[in-house]
C-alpha cells in the first residue's frame, strides 16, 4: 500500500525536475541563513547561482557531524528559533550532543515519511501500532508516533522498557504492528518464550525495525519467533529521524524518500561519487527541510544503492543493508556510542586508572553487550578486593551515565592492552553483522 502514491511512484524524469528545483532553493536558503554554510561554499568557490540542477550537487562541499558540533547547539539551524517547534538530539563524539531542530513543516514531512514506511509495511487505518522506541530526545518514538497518527493508525506510545507490560499490551490490545530496535525485538521474543507465550497467541502481522544495523539472519529469526513480517526502516536524526527510507512489502531494501532526501554514495576516502551498486559512504542532502537543512551530509554508514525498479511500483532508489561505519561509532542496542566518550570519562574518573581501554562488543543471544577493559595506573595501590570493586562500580556508573548503556568494566594490568603505533587498539566488535 502507498501513502502518497503520486510522489512514491513518480516518474524518474519528473522527480529529477522536482529534486533540482528543491535543491536550488535549499542551497539558497542555507547560503543566506547559515554563516557556516556561506563560509564553506565561499571557500569551495561555489555560489548558489552555480546550482542549476540536481546534477550540480557534486560541486557542493560536504557536511559532517563535526560541523554540527562546531555549531552546537543551534548554529546550523536555518530557521529562526521562533519557527522551530521541536528539538531532538543524539549522542556526539565527545559527549556533546548533535542537536537538530524542526519547523512545523518539517514535522509534517517527517510524519508523511513515516506514514509511507508504515503503509509500505502494511499499516492501514484499522491497524494498532505499538511504538516501543524510546520517546524523548531520541527521534525513534515521536517520529513513528506522528507517522502512525497521520496514517490513521491507533498509536500506542509504550516507549521502551517494562517488557512484561509490553507483552500484556500486545496480547490484550491484539496489536498488529510493532516498531522498535531489532535487538529489542529479539529480546521481546526471548521474554515471550520465557513467559510461555506462543507468538501465535499474539496478533502481530508486521514489525518495523531500525535505528541499528541488523542482518538477514536476524530478520528470519525475528519473523519466526514473533510470527510477523519484519521490515527494515532507516533514518538518522541529523537528516530526519526514522523514515528517511523504509522497506515495502517486497522486503528487498529500504526505499529512500528521495523527493525529500537526495542520496549519494561516495568513496569513503576520496569522496568521489560511486556508480550504482558500488558500496561506499551514504551521503544525504535534505531537499525540503527548513529547521536544519543539510548539504551532502556524510552519514558514515557504508552501504550501496540500487536504482533497479522495484516490483512494488515505487520509483525511488533502495539502500542495501548497512555494512558498517566509516568512523569509529558503535551502535549498541540502538544507542550511538563513540569510543572517545568512554575515553573522556576515563581521563578524569579515577586517578587509579589510565585512559587506556579496550572495548569489546558482542551479541549474546541476539542481544548486544558492551565490555570495557580498563588499564590500571602504574602507581595504583590496592591490596583489598573492596577497593577493586569500588573502582569498577564507579567507572560503570560514570560510563553508563555518559553513553546511556551499562557496560561491564574489567580492570587489567598496566600495559596489558595492545598498542598499535603507540595508540591503544580500541574496539573489538565480535558481532557478526
Amino acid at each position: 500500500m502507498y501513502y502518497q502514491e503520486r510522489l512514491e511512484c513518480m516518474a524518474r524524469e519528473e522527480k529529477r525536475a522536482l529534486q533540482s528545483e528543491r535543491l536550488i532553493s535549499t542551497v539558497k536558503l542555507v547560503y543566506e541563513s547559515v554563516p557556516a554554510y556561506r563560509k564553506k561554499m565561499d571557500l569551495a568557490g561555489v555560489k548558489p547561482c552555480d546550482i542549476k540542477s540536481i546534477s550540480d550537487i557534486v560541486k557542493l562541499p560536504f557536511t559532517t557531524k563535526q560541523d554540527l558540533r562546531d555549531g552546537y547547539p543551534f548554529g546550523m539551524f536555518s530557521a529562526d528559533m521562533e519557527d522551530i517547534v521541536r528539538v531532538h538530539a543524539s549522542s556526539g563524539t565527545t559527549g556533546k550532543l548533535t542537536v537538530v531542530g524542526y519547523t512545523e513543516n518539517d514535522i509534517k514531512i517527517w510524519a508523511e515519511c513515516c506514514a509511507r514506511s508504515l503503509a509500505g509495511a502494511g499499516g492501514t487505518k484499522k491497524s494498532l501500532l505499538h511504538v516501543a522506541y524510546g520517546y524523548g530526545l531520541f527521534t525513534g518514538g515521536l517520529g513513528l508516533h506522528y507517522g502512525g497518527e497521520l496514517l490513521g493508525l491507533s498509536v500506542v506510545p509504550v516507549s521502551s522498557g517494562n517488557t512484561a507490560r509490553q507483552i500484556q499490551l500486545l496480547k490484550d490490545f491484539k496489536t498488529d504492528i510493532i516498531c522498535c530496535t531489532p535487538s529489542y525485538a529479539v529480546f521481546l521474543a526471548d521474554e515471550l518464550e520465557k513467559a510461555g507465550v506462543d507468538p501465535k497467541e499474539l496478533s502481530l502481522k508486521s514489525g518495523l525495525f531500525g535505528a541499528e544495523p541488523w542482518t538477514e539472519e536476524m530478520r528470519k529469526d525475528i519473523e519466526k519467533r514473533l510470527n510477523l513480517k519484519a521490515y527494515d526502516i532507516y533514518g538518522l536524526s541529523e537528516i530526519l529521524g526514522p523514515g528517511v527510507a523504509g522497506e515495502c512489502e517486497k522486503q528487498s531494501g529500504c526505499h529512500i524518500w528521495d523527493d525529500h532526501f537526495y542520496p549519494e554514495i561516495v568513496h569513503e576516502k576520496t569522496l568521489k561519487p560511486l556508480a550504482d551498486g558500488k558500496a561506499g559512504e551514504l551521503v544525504f542532502t535534505t531537499l525540503t527541510k527548513e529547521g536544519i537543512p543539510l548539504i551532502r551530509y556524510r552519514t558514515r554508514d557504508i552501504t550501496a544503492i540500487t536504482n533497479e525498479p522495484c516490483p512494488c511500483g515505487r520509483t525511488s532508489p533502495r539502500i542495501k543493508r548497512i555494512a558498517g561505519r566509516s568512523d569509529d561509532m558503535l551502535i549498541i542496542r540502538g544507542v550511538n556510542i563513540f569510543p572517545s566518550q568512554i575515553e573522556s570519562v576515563l581521563m578524569s574518573a579515577d586517578s587509579r586508572v589510565a585512559p587506556h581501554y579496550h572495548i569489546i562488543t558482542d551479541r549474546v543471544n541476539n542481544l548486544d553487550i558492551l565490555e570495557i577493559e580498563v588499564e590500571l595506573n602504574d602507581g595504583a595501590n590496592f591490596d583489598e578486593i573492596k577497593t577493586v570493586e569500588e573502582i569498577t562500580k564507579k567507572l560503570t556508573v560514570e560510563i553508563a551515565s555518559a553513553i546511556s548503556v551499562v557496560p561491564k568494566v574489567r580492570l587489567v594490568s598496566t600495559g596489558s592492552i595492545k598498542r598499535s603505533e603507540g595508540k591503544s587498539v580500541r574496539v573489538t566488535d565480535r558481532r557478526k553483522s
Binding site: A380, N381, D383, E384, I385, V388, R410, L411, T414, S416
Partner: protein, 137 residues
C-alpha cells in the same frame, strides 16, 4: 612495629601466578609467605618476601601492578586456640579485620599471623596489653 607486604593485581589468566613467582625467582627474591584473594574475574595476591622494595620494582618492570602495604603481625604458639585468642583481643578492642593470613615456623614451633586491620596502633597496644608478642617482619 609493622610488617611490610607486597600486593599484586592479577587478572584471571592461566600462568599469571607462575609468572609472578618466576619474576621473583629470577631476581633472587625469596617468598616467605603468600596468599591469594580470588573473585570470578581477578585475584589479589599478597606476599611477604625478603626484599619487598626490590620485588615491587622488579614486578612493575615486568608488567604487574604491584605495591606495598603495612600490616600488623603477631607471634603465637603453633597450637589450638591461639588464633581465637588473637581474634578475641581484636574483637574486644573493636578493631575490624580486612584480611589475614598466617604461617608456621617449624624451628621454634611458632605461628605468625599477619593482619590488615582498621587501626594498626590500637591493635599493637591491645596485643601488648594482653601479652601477645609482636612479629617484627
Amino acid at each position: 612495629m609493622l610488617v611490610n607486604q607486597i600486593s599484586v593485581y592479577l587478572e584471571n589468566r592461566t600462568g599469571r601466578v607462575a609468572d609472578f613467582s618466576r619474576v621473583l625467582f629470577e631476581a633472587g627474591i625469596n617468598i616467605k609467605t603468600m596468599s591469594i584473594a580470588d573473585t570470578a574475574e581477578y585475584g589479589i595476591l599478597r606476599a611477604v618476601t625478603d626484599n619487598n622494595d626490590k620485588a615491587v620494582s622488579i614486578l612493575k618492570q615486568n608488567g604487574f601492578n604491584a605495591s606495598s602495604t603495612n600490616l600488623v603481625g603477631f607471634e603465637v604458639q603453633d597450637k589450638a586456640g591461639e588464633m581465637f585468642k588473637v581474634l578475641k583481643i581484636l574483637e574486644n578492642a573493636s578493631i575490624n579485620i580486612s584480611y589475614l593470613y598466617s604461617f608456621t615456623r617449624e624451628t621454634d614451633k611458632s605461628a605468625i599471623i599477619l593482619l590488615k586491620v582498621s587501626d594498626n596502633e590500637k591493635a599493637l597496644t591491645a596485643m601488648a596489653e594482653n601479652g601477645v608478642k609482636v612479629f617484627g617482619g
